[in-house]
C-alpha cells in the first residue's frame, strides 16, 4: 500500500483516482428515486468501503458503476461516473469488464449447473490473450483458494456458501480486473470465512494492485481492511473519512459498530437522533 491512499482521496488529485462518481442520481422504473446525488472516489490501488444499513443504496451504487442497473430497469439520470479517466455511465457491463472493472454481486450468483472450474473460466470470457495465459491465471486462483482446487469438478450449486463466495471472487479475478466492485462478501457466511475472504482481498490488493470498492453491512470487518469509508443512508452519503477516523467516530461506533457510549439509550432515542443527524448532513 502506498502513501497515496492515505491522503484524503476526494481532494484535488483526480488523476490518482481509478474511479470517481460525481453527484449521481439513480431512478428505478422511471419513478423511484434511489440515489440522491452520490459522490465518491476510489484511489488507484485503494480499498474503499461503502457502509450502511439495508436499503441505504450501497448495492445500487455498485450496480450504477457496473451498469447492471439497466437489467433491473434502473437508470443513472444525473451526474457522471469516470473510470480510468473515461466516462462510463452509458457503457454495457461487457465493455466495462473489458476495461477492467468487474462486479461480484451480492449473494454470489455462481452458475449452479457449471463446475467450479467452468465457473472460473467464464470469468475469462472477455479476455483475448490466449489459453495459455488463462490457464496460468487459473492456477493462480487455485493457489489463492486451495479449497476451490479440491472442488474444481463439483457443480457450483452443491458447494458451500463460502466456497461459492470464493468462486465468485475468483471468477471476477479471471477477467484480469483493475478494479473489483465487491457487494456484501460477508452475507450469510461464518465470521471465519469472512475473515478469510477479506484476507484474500488484501492480498490481491497488495500483490496485484487491484482496487476494491466494497459494500458491506459488517462495518467492523470492512473498516479493518479498507483505507477509506463512505457511510450511506437512504440514497445519500452522510459521512466519509479515513477508515481509522471512522472507527473512532462516536456516531459510527454507536450506529454501526454497536458500541454505545455511556448509559444505554432506548431504540426510540436512537432513531430520533439519527433523523436529526440526517437533516444536518
Amino acid at each position: 500500500m502506498s502513501i497515496a491512499t492515505l491522503e484524503t482521496p476526494n481532494t484535488s488529485a483526480a488523476t490518482d483516482n481509478i474511479l470517481s462518481l460525481n453527484n449521481i442520481e439513480v431512478i428505478y422504473d422511471h419513478v423511484i428515486l434511489v440515489l440522491k446525488g452520490v459522490s465518491l472516489h476510489v484511489p488507484r490501488k485503494g480499498i474503499v468501503a461503502i457502509l450502511g444499513a439495508n436499503g441505504a443504496g450501497k448495492t445500487t451504487t455498485l450496480k450504477a458503476i457496473s451498469n447492471l442497473l439497466k437489467a433491473e430497469r434502473g437508470e443513472v439520470t444525473k451526474g457522471s461516473i469516470v473510470f480510468e479517466g473515461e466516462r462510463v455511465d452509458k457503457m454495457s457491463p461487457n465493455e466495462l469488464v473489458r476495461r477492467g472493472c468487474i462486479q461480484v454481486m451480492e449473494g454470489r450468483h455462481c452458475f449452479g449447473h457449471l463446475s467450479i472450474e467452468e465457473n472460473l473460466l467464464t470469468g475469462a470470457f472477455t479476455r483475448r490473450d490466449g489459453n495459455a495465459a488463462i490457464k496460468r491465471d487459473l492456477e493462480k486462483i487455485y493457489e489463492l483458494f486451495p479449497r476451490l482446487k479440491q472442488r474444481r469438478t463439483s457443480q457450483a450449486g452443491y458447494t458451500s456458501g463460502g466456497e461459492q463466495q470464493m468462486c465468485a471472487v475468483g471468477r471476477a479475478m479471471m477477467s484480469k480486473p483493475k478494479m473489483i466492485l465487491l457487494d456484501e462478501p460477508s452475507m450469510g457466511l461464518a465470521p471465519q470465512i469472512v475473515e478469510e475472504i477479506f484476507e484474500i482481498v488484501r492480498r490481491l490488493n497488495a500483490e496485484d494492485g487491484v482496487s476494491f470498492l466494497v459494500a458491506e453491512q459488517n462495518t467492523n470487518m470492512a473498516l479493518r481492511y479498507a483505507t477509506y469509508g463512505y457511510i450511506m443512508e437512504t440514497g445519500r452519503v452522510v459521512m466519509d473519512g479515513e477508515a481509522a477516523m471512522l472507527r473512532e467516530n462516536e456516531d459510527v461506533k454507536e450506529f454501526y459498530l454497536g458500541v454505545a457510549e455511556g448509559n444505554k439509550k432506548s431504540f426510540r432515542e436512537v432513531k430520533s437522533y439519527k433523523r436529526r443527524k440526517r437533516w444536518l448532513s
Binding site: M105, H109, L114, E118, G157, G161
Partner: protein, 357 residues
C-alpha cells in the same frame, strides 16, 4: 425452516413410484387373468397378441422400429432447436417449427430462382443469420427482463410474421425439396433379416447420420468452447452472466443462428421425405411431447426423447392401432408425455433444480 421446505419433494417422488408400480402390477395381473380365461378378449388383444405378432414376424418388427427411429431422429432435430433457445434465453420458442419451414422454403425458392444448389444452402444460412440478428434487435432486446410469458407471446408473433412473409415471398403451394441437387441418396436398401425383407430408405439413413454428426458437434461445442461455456452460463443465470462481462446480445444472436442452422438441416431432411409446405409446422409441434419426455434443457434428452416418441408412435400405430381403428400416431406422443408429466416433470434428463435453502 429448511427441513419443512425440503421434505415434501422426496416423499412425493417415492409415493409416485410406489403408485406407478402398484398400477403396473395390477395391470399385469389383470392381463394374465384375462388372457387365461379369454382367448379373443380385449385384454388378450392388448397385452398378448401384439407381442406374439412381434415374435412371429421379427422382420416386420425391425421395419417398424427402423421407421420409428427415423421419424424419431427428425423429432429430435426439431426438439434440439427448441432446447438450444430455451437453454440460452429461457424462452420457449414457438417459432422453431416455422423456422424449419422458412429455411426449407428459402432454400428451394432460391434454387428455383436459378441459384446453384450448394450456393443456395450458403445463402440460406446467410438469411438465417440475418433473421437471428433481426429477432435479437427487434424482439429480444426491447423485451429483455420482461416475464417469460411475454417473450413466449413474442415468438407467436414471429411465427405468424414468418408464415405471412414466407407465403408472400414463395407462395403457399407445397414445393419439392432439391434432394438430388444436394447429393442426397435416393432409393432403398433391402436387407434380408429374420427370414424377411427389411427395406431401408437411403434418405433415412442419411438423415440419421447427418443428425448424429450435428448433435455430436453441438454437444462438443457446448461442452468445450468458450462460447459454449458462456451459453451454458447464460442459461444458468442471466444476471451473473452479465456481471462477468458476457454480452447477452451476442449470445442470443449465436443461439438463434444455431437454431436456424438446425432448422435448415431439419427442413432439408424432412422436406426430402415428404415435401416442403406449411403443414410441416404442425408436425413440428410433435417436439413438445419430445421435450416433456427428454427435459427442456437437455440435448441428450431431446435425442432420446425423440427416439422414444418416434419408435413408440410407430409401434403403437402398427400393433395396437387396429384395435381402436387406427390413428393412434397423432396422439400417442402426447399421451406418453402426459404420463411423464405425472411422474417426472423435469423429463428424463432435465436439469435438476438445485436450490440451497
Amino acid at each position: 425452516m429448511s427441513d419443512v421446505a425440503a421434505r415434501p419433494a422426496p416423499n412425493l417422488l417415492a409415493k409416485g413410484w410406489v403408485k406407478s408400480g402398484l398400477i403396473f402390477i395390477a395391470v399385469v395381473a389383470a392381463a394374465i387373468l384375462g388372457a387365461q380365461f379369454d382367448d379373443s378378449g380385449t385384454l388378450y388383444k392388448v397385452f398378448i397378441d401384439p407381442f406374439q405378432q412381434m415374435v412371429q414376424a421379427p422382420d416386420l418388427l425391425a421395419q417398424t422400429i427402423w421407421e420409428g427411429l427415423v421419424s424419431g431422429v427428425l423429432y429430435a432435430l426439431i426438439a434440439l432447436g427448441f432446447v438450444l433457445i430455451f437453454k440460452a434465453s429461457g424462452v420457449f420458442n414457438f417459432a422453431q417449427g416455422i423456422m424449419v419451414v422458412f429455411a426449407a422454403l428459402t432454400l428451394v425458392g432460391l434454387y428455383e430462382k436459378g441459384v446453384p444448389a450448394f450456393l443456395a444452402v450458403i445463402l440460406t444460412l446467410g438469411v438465417m443469420f440475418v433473421l437471428a440478428v433481426t429477432i435479437e434487435r427487434v424482439v429480444l432486446r426491447p423485451l429483455v427482463n420482461q416475464p417469460d410469458i411475454i417473450l413466449f407471446m413474442a415468438t407467436f408473433g414471429i411465427t405468424y410474421f414468418l408464415i405471412g412473409f414466407g407465403e408472400a415471398l414463395f407462395g403457399g403451394s407445397p414445393k419439392q425439396m432439391i434432394a438430388d441437387q444436394l447429393w442426397l441418396p435416393k432409393g432403398a436398401i433391402d436387407l434380408k433379416l429374420f427370414g424377411g425383407l427389411v427395406s431401408l430408405q437411403k434418405i433415412d439413413i442419411a438423415a440419421a447420420v447427418i443428425a448424429s454428426i450435428m448433435i455430436a458437434a453441438l454437444a462438443a461445442f457446448f461442452q468445450y468452447t468458450r462460447i459454449g461455456r458462456a451459453l451454458r452460463a447464460v442459461a444458468d443465470s442471466h444476471k451473473a452472466a452479465l456481471s462477468v462481462g458476457i454480452s447477452l446480445n451476442q449470445i442470443w444472436v449465436i443461439v438463434w443462428f444455431t437454431a436456424g442452422i438446425v432448422a435448415l438441416i431439419t427442413g432439408i431432411m424432412w422436406g426430402a421425405r415428404s415435401d416442403v409446405s406449411f403443414a410441416l409446422e404442425i408436425v413440428a409441434l410433435k417436439a413438445l411431447p419430445v421435450l416433456i419426455l427428454g427435459g427442456f434443457t437437455s440435448i441428450p434428452g431431446a435425442i432420446v426423447g425423440g427416439l422414444i416418441i418416434g419408435i413408440g408412435e410407430k409401434m403403437g400405430e402398427f400393433y395396437w392401432g387396429p384395435l381402436i381403428g387406427g390413428g393412434i400416431e397423432s396422439w400417442l406422443a402426447y399421451f406418453i408425455a402426459l404420463g411423464f408429466l405425472l411422474f417426472r416433470p423435469q423429463g428424463l434428463f432435465g436439469d435438476k433444480i438445485i436450490e440451497r435453502i
